[in-house]
Amino acid sequence: IACLVMYLFAEFDDAANLLAANPDATTISIDEPVEIPKNQHSRLQEPGREEDDELLGTDDSDKTELLAGQKKSAPFWTFEYYQTFFDVDTYQVLDRIKGSVFPVPGKNFVRLYIRSNPDLYGPFWICATLVFTIAVSGNLSNFFIHLGKPTYHYVPEFRKVSIAATTIYAYAWLVPLALWGFLMWRNSKVMNIVSYSFLEIVCVYGYSLFIYIPTAILWIIPQKVVRWVLVVFSLCLSGSVLVMTFWPAVRDDNRRIAVATVATVLLLHALLAVGCLAYFFDAPELDIPAPIIPAHNSTTKVVLEQ
């Protein structure tokens, strides 16, 4: 603990000045802890776990825990308490969005970008944008698909906005709640090295939904193949962010439970994408005007669908 406190003080200039008044033995020990924890970790752990340092960030996880405790000190009924969740600048939000769209293999999104400053701005407004993007794109795509038909009368389908909002906000807040509860429960049984706070999980889920915004816009293209390629592509990107975040948190657990957890996370994510595609975007069927002979109809349908 003393080494850790010294390590913390080494980061502040005025504290270093204060300690410079002390004998040399103490001043030397300020610099050492900066290097020693990393070396100790690499020596004490097995070689196979070295890649975990980047994933886990164990050398500064304690520091971030301390800082996290210092930050949110206002009581929860004051306005300042909630302001601590919006303590992000424009470039930070853009960085986090970039990190969710271009996942670097081996880097943990939470440790790299969130770093004990989880924000609620990103998750809330990304979900809001996604709701309206899906509703508007679905409406536009249906309009273009049914454009030529004489019996088609355009409706704005405003009901779907509230359905989209309920679905997406429920996914972005209830699934993290369930996952956090599950991880806390497993944490009480098996000592995991990594544990995430509820807000960090909400953050990861919120930012991982960003890739669906351009995907929803591109879903306007009325080609089945294009749409499914887009689904797979966006699922790979955001799914990999989620997997790389949550795999270290369950890896120390029973193998089957770890795999089942990650598989459930991915499955729910896929279900959201496929469900939105199926509900908001009509299937782009190729129309045949007034088929006369049913047999002829089925053969022409087969020919056209190829």
Binding site: V93, N139, Y154
Partner: protein, 217 residues
């Protein structure tokens, strides 16, 4: 007070009077309270304030009148008229038509409240009702666009009318967003301006979408 050391008060001057000190001079308003003025004056004063703010939105300059003397009459009138004009849209048997009156109302007011909360949480210095006032008044260009759209739709609903409506709604959307940004951006911390402007953009985009997709029965 050295200069007053040798002043003595003669015994025959009565030392009496009012204990209260008059603050400044009496303004005409205080001589008779606004309770006694003609009703026309009361109404005209409020109407003039609302009208002045409409002019400020039409020609957005950096003036503090919109922010200082906020009122919510203008936003209420605009919101109700916009919601009324969005009625009478098409609705088939699936009831998937345009937004209902309550939906428009809720979107505008709830959206404005959420944007205000967002800007205050990000560290903005504007007050809650001032921000609501600005966001509500800046819906005016879109209300004008809705009026134009309904008139254009009376003439016909073909592709030409759609292009006209698209251009009008697009221009009014840009006007609304720029007007409200001009009033609100200054009260935000400089490195978070984009974070505050984006929800305003989304808000007016949703309203523009509702206006553009309005199709009469």
């Amino acid at each position: 007070f050295p200069g007053l050391a040798d002043v003595s008060i003669p015994q025959d001057i009565p030392v009496e009077g009012e204990i209260t000190v008059p603050v400044g001079s009496h303004s005409p308003d205080e001589d008779y309270s606004t309770l006694d003025e003609p009703v026309k004056d009361t109404i005209m004063r409020d109407l003039k304030a609302v009208g002045k703010k409409f002019v400020h939105v039409m020609y957005p300059r950096k003036s503090s009148a919109l922010l200082r003397d906020w009122d919510l009459w203008g936003p209420l009138v605009l919101c109700v008229s916009l919601a009324l004009m969005l009625q009478g849209g098409s609705a088939d048997s699936k009831d998937d038509g345009g937004p209902q009156f309550a939906e428009v109302f809720v979107i505008i007011w709830f959206g404005a409240v959420v944007i205000t909360l967002n800007s205050k949480l990000l560290g903005g210095t504007i007050s809650f009702f001032q921000s609501l006032c600005v966001l509500g008044y800046c819906v005016m260009p879109l209300t004008v666009a809705m009026l134009v759209c309904r008139l254009v739709l009376l003439a016909g609903a073909g592709t030409g009318s759609f292009i006209i409506r698209l251009i009008v709604v697009g221009a009014m959307f840009a006007w609304s967003t720029l007007a409200s940004t001009a009033f609100l951006a200054d009260s935000q911390p400089p490195n978070r301006k984009a974070l505050v402007v984006y929800p305003i953009f989304l808000f007016y985009f949703v309203i523009s979408w509702m206006i553009l997709t309005f199709t009469p029965q």
